[in-house]
């Protein structure tokens, strides 16, 4: 009886203790979430932006997203900036001169620029930025690191940047993303990628870091009244992190946020239909600066199968076998256009509108293959090469990009309609390491369904994707292509660069070393009921440096 009572008492005690424990845990967790002091109130004209790139911790040198927001000019800015059509404009540098040999640029800095902590921005900060990035091998501004030689400080507000190659115009354009950092803060930091001090967000850009709330996953920035280009027309910007695209778009529809934002991770076209039906929302479809999907030929593999002249005709046949409109409809939900043979999209500097569009024409594709002697001799539905072997090859997608995998399946079907046995590269589908190795390290594929980022197009007109040369991942070793890509990279002036890009497009059109599959219009949806007069930038949508000054509150 006594023992029974003891068991019952223990049971009661256990139940009570359990309840108390749960109550204590809940209370502690809730209390821990309550900030000890209230944050400073931000202004009324606050843009709320949603993103699906997590931004914890607050570290400028992490790849995303502070690098991404600074790309559009936020807490930090570069020597130059872009206008809405990506033309280079003055920013921290009020003017510049590219040397005759194209290997150096002299910049005159604005004299009234101040860091957010009140100290002046000087030429020493500019020199420090470039040296610091090189010394610590930081992931931002890959291009200028690669070609950067040294910076000479001429006086407090004049610097000269020296490159190792004559790449004046290309370098100038890339400096938009070379955010200048304050020497007086970072010179004390030995490991920039692990630094999480709040002064790490001190820049001289139009917005000042206010606070970060890790529980709400939200960061607040207020307008910089001392910004050297003038005070922004809005008071503050809040960034909120959403775990999924669906929850972010629901928040947009519900007016919890005013806009979405991310660097070259636009809202997929499949969401367009649901957004188009919503009131007070603009889909924000803008012409892409990159190429969302492309088809890259693996020269090494195909040249083992056929000779060079056959391969050139074969590429032509492939270009006719692809149904571009089907791909635009499937991947971009119709928000795109059939690309041109010149590959680079219409937003690129030096784009040549006279180059014809790609054409889906199965009759022409079959005719070319017949002329090449690639006939279906054994009547099994697959064409045969002159030696009797089948015209069979794999198509490799980057397995981490679902749209590319889907497009690969469709393209294989389209090529099969012209009698080619094109099949998805199964070996890489379950092995990401092998996929990376095949596409980038060994470059050992027949066809790869890849893409060109805006950076690839801005850098060398997409040469990085198709040329087999230093600084590129491609497989085409044609000296003519390599020369043309070098001409684009090593342009001394913007005019020379436009001319070089035009020449490169003509080569692409003639030789088809790679084929653009979708000149997409990328979606950056935003609300139109609270703010008007957004400035829409090619490729990057409504969130950009120009928007900070053009926005107006709606009555």
């Amino acid at each position: 009886m006594e023992r029974c009572k003891l068991v019952i008492d223990r049971r009661n005690l256990s139940a009570r203790m359990g309840s108390i424990n749960v109550f204590v845990i809940l209370s502690l967790v809730l209390l821990a979430a309550v900030p000890l002091s209230s944050a400073e109130e931000t202004g009324n004209l606050t843009i709320k932006a949603g993103t699906i790139s997590s931004f914890d911790p607050m570290n400028l040198f992490k790849y995303r997203p502070w690098n991404a927001v600074n790309y559009i000019g936020f807490t930090h800015v570069g020597l130059v900036r872009y206008d809405e059509h990506l033309n280079v404009l003055p920013c921290l540098a009020k003017d510049w001169k590219i040397s005759d040999d194209g290997k150096s640029i002299a910049f005159h800095l604005v004299e009234d620029a101040k860091w957010h902590d009140g100290k002046p921005v000087t030429a020493d900060d500019v020199k420090f930025t470039f040296d610091y990035n090189k010394e610590h091998d930081l992931s931002i501004a890959y291009l200028y690191k690669k070609y950067y030689d040294h910076v000479e400080v001429n006086d407090d507000h004049t610097v000269t940047l020296y490159a190792t190659e004559p790449i004046g115009a290309t370098l100038l354009s890339s400096l938009q993303s070379a955010y200048i950092i304050p020497k007086h803060i970072w010179e004390k930091v030995d490991d920039p990628e692990k630094y999480d001090g709040t002064d790490g967000m001190v820049g001289c850009g139009p917005f000042v870091f206010q606070r970060y709330d890790p529980v709400a996953a939200e960061a607040e920035f207020v307008a910089n009244a001392d910004f050297f280009l003038g005070e922004p027309s809005i008071d503050a910007v809040n960034y909120k992190y959403y775990r999924t695209m669906d929850s972010m778009l629901l928040a947009l529809k519900k007016s919890e946020i005013d806009t979405t934002f991310d660097y070259y991770m636009p809202v997929p076209g499949v969401y367009a239909a649901t957004l188009a039906d919503a009131s007070d929302i603009s889909i924000g479809a803008v012409k892409d600066v990159g190429v969302l999907l492309n088809l890259e030929f693996g020269y090494k593999r195909f040249l083992e199968m056929m000779n060079e002249s056959q391969f050139k005709r074969f590429r032509e046949a492939v270009s006719y076998a692809v149904d571009y409109q089907e791909i635009v409809d499937m991947i971009s939900a119709g928000y795109g256009e059939v690309p041109g043979r010149g590959y680079v999209p219409p937003t690129a500097q030096g784009y040549n509108p006279d180059i014809p569009k790609l054409e889906h024409n199965l009759t022409k594709a079959n005719q070319i293959l017949d002329d090449l002697g690639f006939l279906d001799t054994n009547k099994d539905g697959v064409r045969n090469l002159p030696d009797g072997s089948e015209l069979s090859f794999s198509v490799t997608p980057p397995t981490w990009k679902q749209d590319n995998v889907r497009a690969t399946e469709v393209i294989c079907n389209q090529l099969s309609d012209a009698g080619m046995d094109a099949h998805v590269d199964k070996e890489v589908m379950s092995n990401e390491d092998l996929c990376d190795q095949r596409i980038f390290k060994d470059r050992d594929y027949y066809i790869c369904i890849y893409y060109s980022t805006p950076y690839s197009i801005l850098y060398d007109g997409g040469g990085v994707n198709c040329a087999n040369m230093t600084g590129s991942d491609g497989t085409c070793s044609d000296p003519k292509l390599i020369g043309l890509v070098e001409d684009v990279r090593c342009s001394k002036t913007p005019e020379a660069r436009s001319k070089a890009v035009k020449a490169l497009q003509e080569y692409y059109s003639e030789e088809l070393p790679m084929i653009a599959l979708d000149w997409a219009r990328v979606l950056f949806p935003y609300r139109t009921d609270r703010f008007g007069n957004w400035t829409i930038q090619d490729g990057y949508g409504n969130m950009n440096m120009n928007t900070w000054f053009s926005l107006e509150e709606k009555a």
Partner: protein, 329 residues
């Protein structure tokens, strides 16, 4: 006697934990994909893979990724001995800080849903079992089986769409709003908790009810129930004083096991509600091949699951004298 029993149990759990630590370490390293891809960013990583593989090798060396796995495991074990979980590649933060921060938010979701799930599960299960074969039993069992068969994330999305988006009764996602301060924030967090806790609770209720119903049905056939009825006890007394108490034992194990399953089950619910807890931390660690974070997270989850099971063993031993006697014998 209980002391010896607990000692043997504790020893068994420690061995289990060591095996789990080793398994998690080696299995996670078998995943394809390099952590450097996340550390450097895709564009830089691929450019280096293509143009400068030597520099990539140097980075592998710097992060210790090219050392033999056994060597990496020994280093990992020695860090664990020093209570050092390491540094996250992805977040550039000490892992212990990250896990402590996230774990409390997962516990905040799990605790109420487990308690409510258990209480309602016991009630509904007992009722369905007691009235087995009746219309009530069929209705409760069929409905909860239907709920149980729903994918967690689908139910969560349904709740978001109906209660947060269309009816606008609750926030869409997140733990709280940045604008809330002080006591207002407490209320804000509670409001944000309603939907995810409801989803997890409903799923818990459905599972626990089915277990409890089965247990009650089994106990109903025992001799002591017949004896209780023969003594002339009322049906209510038979149910609450005899059947219910004896049916609870299997549920104790189930709830302890639930603790582990809930962390993984809550993952999808955390994702749908953008709830920054352990589930999403593990998910991010897998995507980023952040091995130290993955090891640390699984270690903490394993410790929690084992601790819950250990507690279940203790409660079992306290509640059921036959187990103490059986184990001692």
């Amino acid at each position: 006697m209980i002391g010896a029993l607990l000692f043997r149990k504790a020893l068994r759990y420690i061995i289990t934990l060591l095996i789990m630590v080793a398994l998690v370490f080696f299995v996670s390293h078998l995943m394809p994909g390099s952590p450097l891809k996340n550390i450097l960013g895709e564009e830089t990583y691929f450019r280096m893979l293509s143009q400068d593989p030597q520099a990539l090798e140097e980075l592998n060396e710097e992060y210790g990724l090219n050392r033999p796995l056994t060597e990496q495991f020994i280093i990992y074990l020695s860090s664990l001995v020093n209570a050092d979980l390491g540094y996250s590649y992805k977040y550039n933060q000490p892992i212990s800080e990250l896990i402590l921060f996230r774990l409390k938010w997962t516990l905040l979701l799990l605790s109420p849903s487990m308690i409510l799930g258990a209480l309602f599960g016991i009630c509904f299960g007992a009722l369905a079992g007691w009235k087995h074969g009746s219309g009530l039993d069929s209705a409760v069992t069929s409905f909860l089986l239907f709920i149980y068969s729903m994918p967690h994330y689908w139910l969560a999305m349904l709740f978001v769409l109906v209660f947060a988006f269309h009816l606008d009764l609750f926030p869409l996602s997140g733990i709280c709003s940045a604008s809330s301060q002080g006591l207002e924030r407490l209320w804000d967090i509670l409001v944000h908790m309603v939907l995810p806790v409801s989803v997890l609770t409903i799923l818990n209720i459905s599972y626990n009810t089915l277990i409890m119903r089965g247990s009650v049905l089994q106990v109903l056939g025992e001799g002591f129930v017949l004896t209780a009825r023969a003594k002339g006890l009322s049906e209510r007394d038979v149910l609450f004083r005899h059947v219910l108490k004896n049916s609870l034992l299997p549920l104790v194990t189930v709830i302890a096991l639930d603790f582990g399953f809930m962390v993984s089950g809550a993952l999808l619910v955390e994702i749908v509600f953008s709830w920054g807890g352990m589930g999403t931390l593990v998910y991010d660690a897998v995507l980023a091949r952040d091995y130290p974070l993955l090891h640390g997270s699984f270690l903490v989850i394993a410790v929690c699951v084992l601790a819950a099971n250990f507690m279940a063993d203790v409660i079992y031993a306290v509640l059921d004298p036959r187990i103490r006697v059986g184990d001692a014998a």
